[in-house]
Symmetry: C2
Subunit: 296 residues, 2 copies
DNA sequence: CATTCCATGTAGTCTCGCTACATGATTGAT
DNA sequence: ATCAATCATGTAGCGAGACTACATGGAATG
């Protein structure tokens, strides 16, 4: 009999291209993944992986096994969800991965109530950036992923994942109370050509969107300081080092030394989506989590 | 993730109707089967088995899980066979179950050569009566089963099993060398109305056929002695206690004190068939075993 | 040619699933 | 009504199997 856990290991090797990458994607050691593949090879009696250079490559049999095995794996997951759906029982383990502001602004308020309402539900939380999140959901490492994308800035989501809109998160311009713009009702990027920005690091989605917001002005934003966390942005703004664009989701109440100003034309909005595998669409547990997120 | 081994346990309970029967069908203890079901229930979070009286019954969810799970199990088995088929490698483990005369007359001569030709093949032999054999093959407890049926005496074979004719086994009348019939070239049941028979026990297929052979005579055969094994039949015949109908397959050479006489009208022929699950039709290992049996 | 990176062996540990046995529950018989 | 029989299921203990940590062996890179 083919061992499905081992098959998952081979699938991870196939999708990630190396034993080491597969190992860290599945949370095992490279040795464990290697042994899983060997176990599979012993079970079917056919070589599945071959060394090429200092890496590995799937044999044609290995590729075929993964392709067809994925179907079996999906069928099994769908079957489990279907049984629970028929029973109408919210039960089982849901691993949820979110980006940090969603974790504190969206997940945290909802999780407690969710667990109280459904005693059979086991919820496991983890914090990742959106790109990693997509991979984790796609590979079956977690059931629900929460990602954000600014309007227009998209990234690819595999076909076998479904998307649910969870929130529209608007960002405000945060300035110090004594800043010249502090008295303004609302501002547009053309008002912000000469301000110093406190921004997230190069390569982050928020940073990309800050640039895109300036598209109509013909100039790039002037980045003065960089920080990972929006909480730190607030501190830097309060210290008079510049202004920041901070989403409302998960934002702590502003102190008296800070002012939030609406931005328009365009309104900086990021879309917050929940991802799940379509095979889990019938799972009452996943559905309960999604419903709670949408309502919260 | 649903544990497929546990699912097999539940399936056995479903098909055999009780935990104990499922246990002896799968070769586990009742406690193990019970724990397998509990494990499954924990994984899907839905009760699958409920006590009724002093036995058990599947819940509707349990029945649905078995029904759909059987599909997954079959897909996985088919996938394994298909991979090996593509590779053209005779490998893996084949469990073969046969009735006793086939074991010594058919399997034994073939097994040695089979193992020598295919080093990757692991062959496990077991001896059972045909009814048990059908169950074992159907339930996935063995890959190949060898059964016999006399013409006309049939038994049900599930749809998902395939049948391969392996041999036509003719039985002769065995009499002591000093018996009045010993000089005859051939005999017909009408010549045997008053002989004492040495027969297999009530309920065996051979016994049923002995009765059916007498259908045209209007009389039942006179059973004098009963013995499980044809080897013993020969000894009893040699001792002058009666005559016996002994198949040629697996029959030891007759001593000088015994004579084999052809029977006609009807010729007592039993059909020897090999059974295998259709999901294993592509398995080179199963195919090699079947080919060898047919050739031998 | 040394260094680095990757995969894979090896030894040890730990978890998980099975067996053996005991218990609880229900039915049928005396 | 009681006792025996039968079935399922808990519990303790044991053994196999799967993973981790570490060491080894190739292959590419500078």
């Amino acid at each position: 009999m083919i061992d499905l856990a081992a098959l998952s290991g081979l699938r991870a090797v196939a999708t990630h291209g190396s034993v080491i990458a597969a190992a860290e994607a599945t949370g095992f050691t490279p040795s464990a993944v290697s042994q899983q593949v060997k176990r599979l090879e012993r079970q079917v009696g056919v070589p599945l992986l071959e060394r090429v250079g200092r890496g590995v490559m799937l044999t044609s049999h290995g590729r075929h096994l993964v392709e067809a095995g994925e179907q079996v794996l999906a069928d099994l997951e769908r079957l489990e969800a279907e049984i629970q759906h028929r029973a109408g029982v919210v039960t089982g383990s849901v691993r949820l991965v979110a980006f940090s502001t969603a974790m504190r602004g969206l997940v945290a308020p909802v999780a407690r109530r969710l667990l109280d309402e459904h005693p059979g539900l086991r919820l496991t939380l983890d914090e990742r950036e959106p790109w990693d999140t997509v991979d984790l959901v796609a590979a079956g490492q977690c059931e629900v992923g929460i990602v954000h994308r600014w309007g227009g800035v998209t990234f690819a989501v595999p076909d076998h994942l479904a998307t649910t809109r969870v929130a529209d998160d608007v960002a405000d311009l945060i300035v110090a109370a004594d800043h010249p713009l502090a008295s303004r009702d609302k501002v547009t990027p053309r008002d912000l050509l000469d301000v110093d920005w406190i921004a997230t690091p190069e390569g982050t989605i928020c940073r990309q969107w800050l640039h895109r917001m300036y598209d109509g002005t013909g100039r790039p934003p002037r980045i003065a300081h960089v920080s990972m966390e929006f909480e730190s942005h607030l501190a830097l703004v309060a210290a008079g080092l510049g202004v920041a664009l901070v989403p409302r989701l998960g934002r702590a109440p502003l102190g008296p030394d800070l002012v939030a100003i609406d931005v328009y034309d365009p309104v900086p909005t990021r879309l917050v989506d929940a991802l799940h595998r379509r095979t889990m669409a019938d799972s009452p547990a996943v559905r309960a989590v999604l419903d709670a997120l949408r309502a919260g």
